[in-house]
């Protein structure tokens, strides 16, 4: 029990004191047993006040402090640090929120706001009386990381981590590295191709002693937690011997004889490929692969190429890492059937398909045997939806569409580009492209979300109509030879990994960070970090930036060999526990397991997995669980003070 408590009531300029009578609050606090010092202050967070509290702790030998001010989300750490500087344990500090929950919420009724503030402060004082000195937990960590996804973000992060001395396991689900970047041709602003960039990264990764690359590999199991995750990887057979001679001629023949044809996902299904394949000739790893889902093992290719081995089996590998960095990337939004004619009118394709089409068509732009002249781009397909779930802007698509339109115009003669947009967002340096495109005669037509352009089939022609807000809302139309739907980003299918790692997912279905500004690459799962377009729609530059930021965060987490964790967590009173299993079901983090205790079975909480969420507490029929920092006695005495 603490009995020399300091209470500080903040005015927050006038944010609090305009509605809450802070003097009354102070007087009420003074009367409570155990309160030794009570003061009001203009700004509790001001340097001078912090110094004053620190001095009070030292001089008056306070054993706990309460600051009644704003939300702990804002200043909990500030005052914990004050407590610590004054010589107290930071957990002997309680913050009471009389601003967001007091003055701001009840500005219509100052007397009652004051009464509520007094009660909240009473509760805080009662709670701090029972507070314990807590010490952050330290657990050992392996200086190794699993980077999931070998796209541009994963590859770049892997290299950076390896350079910093962390062992990297780079895990790619596909048989080849490069992800989406390898599917794009010329990139803005450097004019390199995506494939060149990927190739460069691959060579560096391949020769780096600290990086192990796994292709055709997925994580199928996870044990342990931050500091030591034990992951089980499943490696799909490639059906090509690892010591393959890379004889291109043999391989070409093998591809020619393969009787299986499937949609080529690398070209977004605008072409077909064989079951044995390599998406482009400089693709890495150099060895081609056989798509085990498509292959019927007819054996035709084996007759031609000795390097093919259809008897290869899936392999399982276990690795141990201190942290996991996810860079699982994005999928282009798949328009629904009939959305702007998609799937119904044969010359309606997506931007991603169009980009592949440009790369595949050398001399003339031909689609469905028709030479393309007029191209209509419809923006914000699958982004900024009013009725659909994707409320967000996909950020990259305006720039990508305009860049692609410029490339098409440069590559083929007589192209007319028509951009049906909802406001062009070529932010930053990308604005240059917008300027370039309009100077080149590209036509931009704009409508609001309520009145999107219409794509119609009239005889042999495809007509795109719009009520253009830049032309007095006049109805304008274009005869389009090709309609390109500028589709946004959705996360790549990640169900498997979400089930295994329990990564939180936001309302936009992308992985969720802890705090968008202050902790943008961490998740609430300690040791699981996110980077690139799996977190939000990002372009390549932004993906790489987030990947590098996550990489440095990973390295600082695992490289010292020791990880500090919040002491706030559940503890089991072994004597009371009867192992009913209810708490394991309630735990969202798989932190509770069964152990032997004396002659019975009891629950045990993993220190590294428990987040201190408290979900297990109310379900325990024996009341055998306590939450450190929020123990029953702390909470009960606080509630009592609040209601009596």
């Amino acid at each position: 029990m603490k009995n020399k408590i300091g209470v500080y009531v903040c005015m927050c300029g006038s944010n609090i004191s305009d509605y809450v009578d802070v003097d009354k609050v102070k007087e009420a606090a003074e009367k409570i047993d155990g309160v030794y010092v009570a003061k009001t202050t203009m700004f509790a967070c001001a340097d001078s006040t912090q110094q004053e509290i620190e001095n009070d702790i030292k001089e008056q030998k306070l054993d706990a402090i309460v600051v009644a001010s704003c939300s702990p989300k804002l200043h909990l750490d500030t005052f914990r640090n004050v407590a610590q500087r004054g010589g107290l344990n930071p957990y002997n500090y309680v913050q009471v929120n009389i601003r967001e929950q007091g003055s701001w919420a009840h500005s219509d009724n100052p007397p009652l706001a004051t009464e509520k503030a007094i009660n909240l402060v009473k509760g805080g004082i009662e709670r701090v009386k029972h507070s314990k000195e807590l010490i952050p937990i330290k657990i050992p960590s392996i200086n190794a990381v699993a980077v999931v996804g070998a796209g541009i973000a994963g590859m770049r992060a892997a290299l950076e981590l390896a350079e910093m001395g962390t062992t990297v396991h780079l895990i790619e689900r596909e048989h080849f590295v490069g992800g989406r970047t390898s599917q794009w041709n010329v990139l803005f602003t450097t004019n390199e191709t995506g494939q060149e960039v990927v190739t460069r990264l691959y060579h560096q990764i391949n020769t780096h002693p600290k990086i192990t690359l796994y292709t055709g590999t997925e994580i199928i199991g996870k044990k342990g937690s931050v500091g030591e995750f034990n992951l089980t990887l499943k490696i799909k057979p490639r059906y090509i011997k690892p010591d393959c001679k890379h004889d291109i001629k043999d391989l070409e023949k093998a591809i020619a004889v393969c009787p299986i044809e499937v949609d080529d996902e690398f070209n977004f299904n605008i072409t077909k490929r064989k079951a044995i394949y390599k998406n482009y000739c400089s693709e890495f790893p150099e060895i081609p692969a056989i798509d085990c889902e498509a292959c019927n093992k007819c054996g035709e290719c084996v007759k031609i190429c000795a390097d093919i081995d259809l008897n290869q089996q899936p392999e399982e590998v276990n690795i141990s890492v201190g942290a996991i960095q996810l860079s699982t990337g994005f999928n282009p939004y798949e328009p629904t059937k009939g959305e702007f004619g998609f799937g119904e009118i044969d010359n309606v394709i997506t931007l991603q398909q169009f980009k592949r089409l440009i790369e595949l068509n050398e001399d003339a732009l031909i689609y469905n045997n028709k030479t393309i002249k007029n191209i209509a781009y419809i923006y914000c397909v699958g982004s900024r939806q009013i009725d659909g779930p994707n409320k967000y802007c996909s950020r990259y698509c305006c720039t990508s569409a305009i860049h692609t339109a410029i490339l098409a115009k440069e590559k083929y003669s007589e192209i007319n580009n028509f951009h049906f947009n909802r406001g062009i967002r070529t932010y930053g340096k990308q604005e240059k492209l917008y300027h370039e495109a309009s100077e080149a005669g590209d036509i931009f037509l704009q409508s609001f979300e309520e009145a999107p352009p219409q794509v119609e089939r009239a005889g042999n022609e495809t007509i795109v109509k719009i009520n253009d807000i830049l032309t007095d809302n006049e109805e304008l139309e274009v005869n389009a030879d090709l309609v390109v739907l500028v589709t946004g980003m959705v996360p790549r299918d990640y169900e498997g990994i979400v089930n295994i790692l329990k990564v939180p997912i936001g309302r936009d279905k992308f992985f969720n960070e802890i705090h968008p500004k202050l902790r943008p690459v961490e998740t609430v799962i300690d040791g699981v970090l996110i980077s690139g377009a799996c977190q939000a729609p990002l372009n390549i530059t932004e993906s790489v930036k987030s990947a590098l930021s996550a990489a440095s965060k990973v390295n600082s987490l695992v490289s010292s060999g020791e990880i500090k964790l919040e002491p706030t967590m559940a503890v089991i009173h072994n004597d009371k526990c009867t192992w009913c299993d209810k708490c394991t079901e309630a735990c969202p983090y798989d932190a509770i397991s069964k152990i032997k205790y004396k002659d019975k079975e009891v629950a045990e909480v993993s220190k590294s997995l428990c987040k201190g969420c408290g979900m297990c507490l109310p379900v325990c029929p024996e009341n055998a669980i306590d939450l450190i920092g929020y123990t029953d006695i702390e909470m009960e005495s606080m509630i009592e003070a609040l209601i009596y």
Binding site: N416, F418, I424, Y434, H435, S438, E439, A440, G441, D442, I443, F444, L445, K465, D468, L470, T471, D472, E474, E475, L476, E477, V478, N479
Partner: protein, 349 residues
Amino acid sequence: MAKINPDFAKEIFKYGNGDFNACYNCGNCTAVCSLTDEHNSFPRKMVRASVLGLDEKITTSLDPWLCYYCGDCATTCPREANPGELMMSLRRWLTAKYDWTGLSGLLQKSLLFSLFAFIITAIGVIYYSVYQNFNVETIMHHGHLFEMLSIASVFTFIILPNLFRMWYFVIIKPGIKVKFITYFKEFQDLLIHMFTQKRTLGCDDSQTRWFMHLILVFGYLALLFTTVVLDWFGTENLFIILLGYIESVVIFIITFIFVAGRIQKNKEVNKFSQPSDWFFVIWLFLLGFTAFIVRVFIDLDLIENNIWMYLFHLIVLVQWALIIVPFGKWTHFLYRSFAMYFDKIKQVV
């Protein structure tokens, strides 16, 4: 429903400097324009129509004629899309559009064709004078007849039909119902604008330009009157002789200043001169200058032995009367004032 036609912009490029595709429709140009008002919002809407190729919209619009090219829009355009120059190009394009013969478009778009026309007319004059054995008296007499005849025929067969076409495009085609009496009621507006160009004063800092232009117009019209009706080259009347001298001096001095301005590119309006602009000012200069010299030669009794001087003047005159007046920039004198007149009628309706 209007079809977008990106090729139209390429056509407009042939009539002037074409940066207007860079426009991103911020509307700064319309905001800074001191002539635009709630009835006629320009230049952005004209830029938009040009980018989209809505030629119908431009043909039926009077906006290009309501702009006097102060250049404020060009200097404030964040995309350097030069809306003022587009308005100028549209005036040239409209001149071609109104012309039923199609020659105006050909002459404006093709410098080669223009030079060809100038050379053919010059050869015609020389051929004719050879045919007349360089007889000064006959040639000068015929020259005077030509002046009268050309005015009558150019007006009847070219200018009048073209004005009718303009009227058809801007009033009839858009379906504007105008009472017959309105044309009379508002007729004074036509005359006021034709002889004062007072709208120019709406542009900022344009007093000097307006004044010089006004003097030039009056000088030109007066010289026309003096030579054609008062027969300047044939008269013995000292007053008429002096009057002609003053008028021609006014013309060649002011046009000289205008030519110098276009060379120096001292104003927005002078930055992008098309061949049709050059022809117009230079020929007007030559017209005034050669007329002046011819009269000097007459007064010094030199003309008999220096028929070449008169022939030079006649060539300039014929080119002016047959090329520049009906198909060149001269028509802006009428189209502008008629535009103001039609605009007033539209507003009354």
